[in-house]
Each structure stands twice: as C-alpha cells, then as structure tokens.
Amino acid sequence: MPTMNVIQAVNDALRTEMRRDPSVVVLGEDVGRFGGVFRATQGLQQEFGPERVVDTPLEEGGIVGTALGMALYGLRPVPEIQFADFIFPAFDQIVNELAKYRYRSGGQFACPLVIRAPYGGGIRGGHYHSQSPETHFIHTAGLKVVVPATPQDAKGLLISAIRDPDPVLFFEPKRVYRAAKGEVPEGEYTVPLGKARVTREGTRVTVLAWGAMWHEADRAVREAEAEGVDCELLDLRSLQPLDVDAVVASVQKTGRAVVVHEAPRTCGFGAELAALIQERCFLHLEAPVSRVTGFDTPFPYTLENEYLPRAPRILQAIRKVAAF
C-alpha cells in the first residue's frame, strides 16, 4: 500500500472518481492549470482536460451557484473553496439553495455535489485563513458535513461524499495536509458517512474529536494513559450524519466525556454533543461534559497556539473530568 499525505489522498480520490464517472467535474479558483493553491487538484486538468477541471472566475457564490446548476442537470461537481474562510460569499447559495433544493421542490429536483474546503488554523494564517465554519452548515438541515483526519479516511470519505445523493461539505484539515501520513489503499474504496471510528479503546474518559484536532487529542490521550487515565478516543469523521450511537455507547461505558474542536465554543458543535450526551447518557454521567475549544474571538494571528485546543489543554481537561 502506498504511503500518502492528506493532500495526495484527496488528489487520489478525485482522480479515482473522475476515471470511474465521467459526470464528475472539478471547478474552483486556481484548481486547473495550477492544480490548486494546496496542490490538491494537481495533474487533474492534464489528465481530464480543461472542460472537467475548470478554472473559474473569482467569486465563491458563483462557484457554488454554478456547481448547483451543473448538479441539477446531472453532473457531479466537486467545487473547491480555496479556504473555508472564503465560503461566506457562497453562504446564501449553500444555505438557501443547495440545502433546500430537494425539500422545496418536493423531491422533484436534487443537487448532489461536494464542496471541498481546507479549514482550520495552526498555519499562521490569521483569521481569514484559519476558521472552522462547520457549525454553520451542520445547523442547516439538508447538508452533510464531513471532516477527515487521516489520509486513508480522506480518500474513502471523499469517494463516499462524491457518490452521496445529498450535498456534502468536505472540510479538509489543512494543518495536517502534509504532516499526516499513512498507508492508503490503491483504487476504489469507501468509508461510509455517519460512522465514527474508535481510534483508541478505553474505560475512564471518552474523548470526541475530528479533523486536525483529532491528532492533538490522540497525543493527549497517550499522555493521559502514561499518567494512568485510560481514555477512549473517537474520531467522529462525519458530523452530519452523526454517529450518535457510537458516542452514546462510549459515554455510557465511561461516564465521562471531553469534546474537542477548533471553532469558537459558543454554539460550537461541542454544545450539540454535550446536549446529546446529557439527553441520552444522563444516568451514566459521572462528571459534567467538558469542552476544549477555540475561544470566542476571531481566530488570532500571533497567539494561535494559545487559541488552538492543543494536546496540553486537552490533557488538563481529561485530568479534571477523570478526577471529578
């Protein structure tokens, strides 16, 4: 099995699906001749031509609106938003159009497509190259939201997303785009949407994470284990659909939960997870659910390490919850 990083896995998934299905097209700013500012679409235009790998004019609303029309007509577009921070000009097209098209037409029309966007901080990008906007879209019924953490999942989840009948936002962890490496199967395989992965089994504390922060959580639970706190770590992978059964099964076992995400705390997805846990695991809980998150500020430039919920902060939360 070849070893790849996340970028290479994304590229491999796109190439695999474009070879299999001629209706798959890629569009976005700089995705064609240049291969994308992160090189995720490198070589695709050379293989599939400028009609299927399209450099679009600059405007995210236009990219998503155009992709939506392509999907209505039967193509499988995979538009790229260069940074998740730039998705907001397309917010209306995503929230009011893409999310509602099937519902508002009574199921007469559907627009399956995958919006890929690198998200998250830790790359010295300031607040316009670092945000984690997943909650805005999880909150909008009609959209699916997927966040891979590893190269193997990035490929398998992206292939599933492209084949999915619903619109999917695919947020790629750019902090570990090149740093996260792993063996990735060749050719076609899928990782189903809506299935969490238990990456470490344990009994004392459940830790829930996804994307780039899964790597920090993984470091934290290893350190916790060295201190004698046996944690169970879940990589949620897909936030909508959410594998609520996996979350509940783990928290019912441990009675304690720590939720980790980069996005600001207030109304972050951690709040939803904490609410679900208290609704479904109330009598099993031994401690309040703890949230280790970004702060309620715009994403900072200089103090980004303090802002990000990295392993030491996660470890502190694990200790506190375990000792409650």
């Binding site: 939506l68 029309g69 209505l72 209306d92 159009e97 519902y103 508002r104 199921g107 007469q108």
Partner: protein, 400 residues
C-alpha cells in the same frame, strides 16, 4: 482632503463640457440599445416582421387571457383568506409567454417568482398550481414552500426561491453542463430589474461570459422592485448595456409586445445554441399590480403612472393585431374569456377537493434523500405530542 469641486464635477451633461454640446449619456445608451418592437400600439405591424402564425398567436393570446383572469381570481381568493399569498404578472404576460414559447421543449427554465405562466405553458396542470398555492395534500411541494414558489420537473421548470437572483448562476451551471455533455440545451433564466443589483447577477453573467455557456438572461424590467423604482435601482440608462461589461450581447425589447419578445428570445436562443454565447435581454414592461398580495402600491406609486401603460397593455395589443388579421372577433374574445373562467373554476374545484394539509410525515421528507436519525426521531416526537394533545396541530389563533 476635500475634493476639488470644480475639477471633479461630473454632471449629467458630461465632465467639463465647457460649452461644447455633448449628447446626454442616457440618450446615447438608448440609441445603442434601441427598443425592439413589432406590434404598434394600434395593433398594426409590418407583415414581414411577423414570425408566428395565427394559430400559435391565438394559442398564446388565450394563455395570456387565462393568466390575467387567474391573477384577478387569486387576488380575490387571497382577500377571502382561501390562499395565503399570491404574486401576479398582470401587464407582464407578453414577456413571460413570448419568451417561454420561443424556447425548445428540452430547454430548462429557471424562474424568478412571477413566471408561473411559463410553467403552465410547459404543461403544469392548472389544478396542480392551485394545489401549490393552497399547500394542500395535492401540492407536489408537499406544503414545503409558500405560494408561487412552484417547481415542475416534467417541464424542466426549476424550483423557485425568494432570495433574489440566486437562480442566475444556477442557470449558467445547467447550461454549462449541457455544453460539456454536448447536448443542445439552452437555459432561460428570468429575473426582475431589482435582481440586476445582486451579487448573483454579476457573478452569473460574468461566469457565462467567460464560459460561453448557452444561456438567455431575461430581465423582466417591470419598473419596480417592490417600492423602489427602476431609476433608484441603478444609474445605468438601460439594463441591456450591463451586458457590455461582461463581454456578452445585450438587447432591449418591448416587453409588452409578444412578437418582439418571441423574436428576440428566439434569436438569443439560436445564438446560444450555435456557441455564440449568452444574451442579456431587457424586456421593458410594467408591473400593473402590486408586488404581491402583501403589498400596497398606493403607498408609493401615484396611480397616474399606470396610465401610459394601459394603452400598451400586452393582451389588448395582441388582440388588436389578431382582429386586424381576422383571427379574432368579439365572439372569439368572449369565448377566450369564458374558457379562461371555466378553466380556473374547474381547476380550483379540483384543487380544493384535496385534504387541506399533506400528511404529517411529509414535514420530514426530502430534507435528505433518506431521513437521518434526527428526522426519524423528530417525526416520532411530533406524532407523540399530537397524540398527547391534539392542540399541538391546531391552527394558530394568534397572540391576541
């Protein structure tokens, strides 16, 4: 720094005119984009410019009569509380029917919310449209959308949203997809003059210009965006001239002239299909009624503004033309009116025979291709709540 008022002065007469007469910019653009007309106000026309036969013209005339009657009837139904909301197209029938008739059956239509006539022309049964207005058990949208937001897949008539101009890039995408698939399909997208201020107008025309997607952009310039008149919407002398900046063709058409709208759309379609790129068609018409049943134009529009437009009424003009041709007489006109009334009466009776509400489970249908656990659980939750107390499902009595 204060601007130098003398040096920086830009006036309507031009910058620094200093006695040399310059043509007013508005007149210049109106010359560059002349209003294309076939039917004169007295119903006469140059026979060489008439591209439709009497039978087809009569068919479209009857549709326009039906649409006008439908508007009157639905406004009255809304006042009686039988439907919640309605958006009419009185005065704009020639723009809608002339353009829709000019497209091929396989072409897609991306409507705004004032073109349900195009869906009717595409075969959407009138009773189905009335079910949509009622949001009842016969509504194909399952009561998910408010009235006048219909979709009609069999007629390739896309779904309507209330936010303005969003359908413009979507139409470009569908047209672009057809081009990639080498299929002869041209997308027709409707929007009003207000939409030309929106981001999606700019981005849609820009992408279409670059991609040469086969699209006809049809602006129903009816003079008003709710209460904001066309002059307050844009300082452009015409809407058509906006095409220049996108490197596409722009034309200005008399929107109350069915033949002119038909011809211009037909030519735009042919150019798009031949790979010659998109066209922005500005159809100059007038919103004779309110924006919607929730609007009262007497608060912002002096009634005398309507007077010149009454003489240009699109149905009146086409009727006069058909009479000159001997294709219509008093009897034919009475018959068309009677047919329209009967069609609406019969369709309304059919629509009102459905249950007032779609079944409860439809609330959760179509959010996703298959419901997620949230929709499944929440359906059970509302079922249980109604079973415990039927008032959960009772009509809202209001807060008073």
């Amino acid at each position: 720094m204060q601007p130098d008022r003398k040096a920086g002065a830009v006036t309507r007469e031009g910058n620094g005119a200093r006695g040399r007469p310059k043509p007013a910019p508005i007149a210049r653009w109106e010359r560059e984009f002349p209003l294309q007309t076939v039917l004169r106000e007295d119903g006469s026309a140059d026979p060489s410019e008439v591209t439709l036969g009497d039978a087809e013209l009569l068919r479209l005339y009857r549709w326009m009569v039906l649409e006008r009657h439908l508007d009157q009837r639905m406004v009255s139904l809304q006042r009686q509380g039988r439907i919640g909301f309605y958006i009419g197209s009185t005065g704009e029938e020639a723009t809608v029917f002339g353009s829709a008739a000019a497209m091929e059956e396989r072409d897609w239509i991306f409507p705004c919310y004032r073109e349900h006539g195009a869906a009717l022309l595409r075969g959407m049964p009138l009773a189905a449209f009335l079910c949509d207005l009622l949001g009842n058990a016969g509504d194909r949208m399952k009561g998910h959308q408010m009235p006048c937001h219909e979709a009609w897949r069999p007629g390739r008539y896309a779904s309507i949203s209330s936010p303005i101009a969003t359908q413009i890039p979507q139409a470009v995408g569908a047209a672009w997809a057809a081009k990639l698939r080498k299929e002869d399909m041209v997308a027709l997208v409707y929007f009003g003059d207000g939409a030309t201020s929106a981001n999606d107008f700019h981005t849609g025309l820009n992408v279409a210009g670059v991609s040469r997607a086969p699209v006809v952009f049809l602006c129903r310039n009816n003079g008003w965006a709710i209460s904001v008149p066309r002059e307050r919407q844009t300082a452009s002398a015409t809407i058509a001239q906006k095409a220049v900046a996108y490197g596409i063709r722009g034309e200005r058409v008399d929107g109350n002239d069915l033949l002119a709208v038909y011809d211009a759309t037909r030519r735009a379609r042919a150019r798009a299909a031949a790979g010659e790129g998109p066209t922005l068609l500005e159809c100059v018409t007038y919103r004779m009624g309110a924006h919607s049943t929730s609007d009262d134009p007497s608060a912002y529009r002096p009634p005398e503004l309507l007077e010149p437009w009454r003489k240009r009424d699109p149905i009146l003009r086409l009727g006069l033309f058909l009479r000159r041709r001997g294709a219509l007489d008093d009897g034919g006109e009475r018959e068309a009116q009677a047919w329209a009334q009967e069609e609406v009466r019969r369709a309304l009776a059919e629509a009102e025979s459905f249950e007032a509400k779609p079944p409860l489970e439809t609330l959760f249908e179509g959010v996703y291709a298959e419901p997620l656990w949230q929709q499944r659980e929440q359906l059970q939750e509302i079922r249980d709540a109604i079973a415990a107390d039927p008032r959960v499902s009772a009509p809202d009595r209001g807060s008073g």
